[in-house]
């Protein structure tokens, strides 16, 4: 077997050194009743070529985004990732290394994490960021728990514009931690009153910006309202590219910013792995979950980097840890930081402008669809389209797919219990959409409604 170097002669020689008759002897501590004498009844190993065939066959059953006019967003966005990112990512020294516990031979990982933390802090407008978490939804849940820890309060208010997966994940994570979740109704029209929900029992208010239905909100007053009663404002960002164009949460008073980093560096990957970004104010750093990289000096006085403040972590504090998370999303963070390094200030700004311009163009194109109306008053690169009172957006999506068009997501996929949301279609546009894509969508919508 190509991954296993031992020959039978090697094995015999090693067993002789050990003083064991055969390998089975080494498994003597396994209760006899549980020892299998034969391989489990599943297929035998296959060559590379055969395995490639299996995956090629499965891939052939999918319609990949690049082969269709594609307008799906809803928290994950399709952007063009420069070729250099993936090629550098696969360098064995990055790909096959472990968590940098031995800093002397891990300065590569540590330095990019330090750079990553800085970039995340910069784009969110915050002071510090951690070295990444699983994804945006789990980062959001961690923010809720952290806010409760910081404020010693129990009520978590979730905006109706927060991504439903973030809502659900936060509900699950907090379920047995003595917290009280107040999740507001979905809010595609932007009517919700958040100010009224914040009171002295509130640990935090969690809002998304741009919202799940697209809207961009000025959070300054909300932040003030939170701070007045001793609550924290947590802002979730599902589309980090937006931060190249719109005012960052940090500048509007956010105390914690969580985000999904997938937009940069990673591609869609059917939604996983993601990359949770987590940033906060310096004063809360010791309450922040997740791994942190810090600057220090070596024995010779040279600048170097190490994992630090690990006293917050579970392998030191065990049941008192800030969270049970013991990995980050290292490679995803690397992809993110590499893409953002290529973009830089100039590139991120332009990319964000281009995305917004594409969405504006899409909205304009959709004016040619009778009865349909963009209901998001403000948006970055995604908005909610109301298709008409009797139209089921989910059916429209299926009709479009039958024509080879991946034309957004129906709101009802997330909110099956809200009949009033049935006519709503979420549509995203990015730099990857051509004018032909938009024309194809408009024409198919006209046929399909």
């Amino acid at each position: 077997m190509r991954y296993l170097p031992h020959t039978e002669a090697d094995r015999r020689a090693m067993l002789a050194t050990i003083g064991a008759r055969d390998v089975d002897c080494l498994f003597q501590d396994v209760p006899a009743a549980a020892r299998l004498d034969q391989p489990i009844d599943l297929p035998a190993g296959q060559s590379e070529m055969a395995v490639e065939r299996v995956f090629t066959r499965m891939a052939g059953k999918n319609l990949s985004a690049g082969c269709a006019p594609f307008f799906i967003g809803a928290g994950l966005y399709r952007h063009h990732v420069p070729a250099a990112v993936d090629q550098l990512l696969t360098r064995g020294e990055f790909l096959t290394s472990y968590t940098p516990y031995q800093p002397e031979v891990s300065q590569g990982t540590l330095q990019y994490l330090f750079e990553f933390q800085t970039q995340v802090a910069m784009i969110t407008g915050m002071e510090v960021a951690n070295a990444s978490m699983y994804d945006g939804a789990t980062a959001c849940a961690e923010a809720a728990v952290m806010a409760a820890r910081v404020t010693r309060k129990k009520k978590i208010v979730l905006s109706g514009n927060l991504h439903p997966h973030y809502v659900q994940t936060t509900e699950t994570v907090t379920k047995h931690q003595g917290l009280e979740i107040e999740a507001l109704a979905p809010d595609p029209f932007g009517f919700e009153d958040l100010m009224g929900r914040v009171d002295s029992r509130t640990a935090c208010l969690i809002v998304q910006n741009p919202g799940f239905f697209g809207g961009i909100r000025d959070l300054t007053q909300l932040a003030d309202a939170c701070h007045e009663v001793g609550a924290l404002l947590v802002v979730a960002v599902a589309e980090p590219v937006s931060l190249g164009l719109i005012t960052p949460p940090g500048a509007m008073g956010a105390d914690i910013v969580v985000a999904e980093g997938q937009s940069l560096g990673m591609g869609l990957q059917f939604g996983g792995p993601g990359l949770g970004l987590f940033a906060t104010r310096e004063k809360y750093v010791r309450q922040m979950p997740g791994r942190l990289c810090g600057q220090t000096v070596d024995q010779d006085g040279k600048r170097g980097f190490v994992l630090t403040l690990s006293t917050r972590e579970q392998h030191i504090r065990r049941e008192k840890a800030t969270s049970n998370i013991c990995t980050n999303s290292g490679l995803c963070a690397l992809a993110f930081t590499m893409h953002l390094t290529l973009l830089g200030e100039t590139g991120l700004t332009r990319l964000a402008k281009l995305n917004h311009a594409q969405a504006v163009r899409l909205e304009q194109s959709l004016r040619r669809v009778p009865g349909a109306k963009v209901i998001s008053q403000t948006y970055f690169n995604e908005f909610a389209l109301y298709l008409g009172d009797d139209v089921d957006a989910a059916e429209v999506v299926e009709k479009l797919a039958a024509k080879g068009i991946l034309g957004g997501v129906a709101a009802s996929r997330f909110y099956p219990h809200w009949p009033e949301l049935r006519p709503i279609l979420l549509l995203a546009a990015t730099e990857t959409n051509s004018q032909d894509d938009m024309a194809a969508l408009v024409s198919a919508l006209n046929e399909g409604l």
């Binding site: 809803a74 472990y98 789990t138 809207g215």
Partner: protein, 490 residues
């Protein structure tokens, strides 16, 4: 060579990605919230970026660089085929919210991997979406708690965890609202069954046992442990971090386990990537199956179906959703490529060779190092620092000395149950020659240590991009980001 931070290399106006400036933005739709002021990101060209990350990578050590016997981390060969498969456009350029008719192949990947995991474990059900081992632990405990809650059994507030457990176990139990009660180890490095029995009772929700445990030993009384646990009405959660030692040779179900997470990045060799992403699917017994979290894949009339809401699956009582979207799909593809390459026969061989290698290290080193327990061990072997007594050399010094010899150190100071632990996990992908080279170096260093050459150890490593780093300074005066003028190169 020194490599400056990107923030020290940028120059405004450079660009690494060509993007047409779309001209002035129509701000009507931005609600007056266009960004004011600069972000502060540096501008680099593509050549600079490529060189930067190439140079950074050269300051790293990976499995591809050499032997990496980091105990409890399973640093085995990461096949390049898995990487290639994960980059097939039809498998990677897919959005999780595409209509299900357009992602039947992706659902098949999930379903086929689930089929293998259930078959290998002998368990009837699993949760695919946990993103890492600790996440899978939590998923397992949430399912257990959901079961108890669903059965109105609210007395169960305690979780029993052996002292040798990974730190995530108690943290996980705490996240589920449980108090944690430690169980001592016996002198053979295993759970003290009598002590466990004494702690079991109607208020225990479950036990969390790592098997093989963190000393690299199989819990040989595991059937008894399972029996008394079940007798007490509690569940048996197994931390599957060391599942790679027994995959293909032992079915988890046959050990009386009710739930166990499987670290795909360990047992099925997806890259560790400097700390993730991992994936921690969690196999579940029939009792726990209904409580598995959303989403999951079922076989429907029109092909595979992804269940995103509880009411789509009659009988399901999901405890919730553990993360966004449908699981670590990119990791699934890699793990499945590995599994199909290995097959049932190859997987059995991996655990056999992993255990063989660890026992070979143990047998070849036990006369010069101090083995904490008698063999046979499983996939890793544990030593403590008795052999360094009076030498002036610590476990840390000893490990750092190995770096200059071209090896990554073993795990140090874990597990906590022995003093100055050195935990070595050779993995099955290492050739005998590599182990022999490592053994020779360890033996030479042990002799050196005993020969009062502590100075050399204290000075190690000397051939690395950086020498020992001041971790105390880092923690006392945290510098967690670059700021203009504040991070001068030393």
């Amino acid at each position: 060579l020194e490599e400056p931070l990107i923030f020290e290399q940028g120059c405004p106006g450079r660009i690494g990605v060509d993007i047409a400036d779309p001209g002035p933005v129509d701000e009507d739709r931005l609600g007056g919230l266009a960004r004011q002021g600069a972000i502060g990101l540096p501008d680099l060209s593509e050549p600079q970026m490529v060189r930067h990350y190439t140079r950074l990578s050269q300051k790293n050590y990976g499995i591809d660089s050499g032997f990496y016997p980091l105990g409890s981390c399973t640093m085995k060969h990461n096949p390049r085929l898995s990487e290639k498969m994960a980059r097939i456009p039809g498998l990677t350029d897919l959005h999780p919210f595409q209509p299900q008719s357009t992602v039947q192949g992706a659902l098949e990947v999930i379903d086929l991997l689930a089929h293998w995991l259930k078959g290998l474990a002998g368990m009837p059900a699993l949760a695919m979406s946990p993103a890492a081992g600790a996440h899978g632990e939590w998923c397992g405990l949430m399912a257990i708690r959901a079961y108890h809650d669903d059965h109105g059994d609210s007395r169960r507030t305690r979780v029993l965890v052996p002292e040798s457990a990974h730190g995530t176990n108690p943290a996980t139990a705490a996240m589920c609202g449980y108090s944690v009660d430690p169980v001592p180890a016996n002198e053979r490095g295993r759970v003290d069954v009598a002590a466990l029995k004494a702690k079991l009772g109607p208020d225990v929700a479950c036990i969390m046992v790592t098997n093989p445990n963190t000393c690299g030993l199989f819990e040989d009384e595991i059937l008894e442990i399972a029996r008394i646990t079940h007798d007490a009405g509690a569940f048996f959660y197994c931390d599957g971090a060391n599942y790679n030692a027994i995959v293909g040779r032992v079915k988890v179900a046959d050990l009386g386990i009710d739930a166990m997470h499987i670290n795909l990045h360990k047992t099925f060799s997806t890259p560790h990537g400097g700390g993730g992403p991992g994936a921690g699917p969690t196999v579940l017994s029939a009792k726990l199956a209904p409580y598995a979290p959303l989403p999951f894949v079922v076989h429907g009339t029109d092909g595979l179906e992804l269940v995103e809401h509880a009411e789509q699956a009659p009988g399901a009582k999901p405890f919730g959703r553990v993360k966004g979207y449908h699981g670590q799909f990119g990791v699934f593809v890699r793990a499945l490529a590995y599994i199909l390459s290995m097959g049932a026969d190859g997987l059995r061989q991996t655990s056999s060779d992993a255990v063989l290698n660890a026992n070979y290290l143990l047998a070849s080193l036990k006369d010069v190092l101090s083995a904490s327990f008698d063999g046979p061990c499983m996939h890793e072997c544990l030593f403590d620092d008795r052999f360094l007594k009076d030498s002036g050399v610590t476990t840390l010094d000893f490990a750092k000395m190995l770096i200059d010899e071209g090896f990554h150190p073993m795990t140090m100071y874990f597990p906590l149950v022995v003093h100055g632990a050195l935990l070595m996990e050779p993995t099955e992908s290492e050739a005998k020659e590599t182990l022999d080279g490592f053994i020779a170096v360890i033996r030479a260093l042990a002799a050196k240590a005993k020969n009062s050459e502590a100075e050399a150890f204290k000075a190690a490593p000397r051939l690395t991009p950086r020498r020992r780093l001041d971790e105390t300074l880092a923690a006392r005066q945290p510098i967690l980001r670059w700021k203009h003028g504040a991070n001068a190169e030393g």
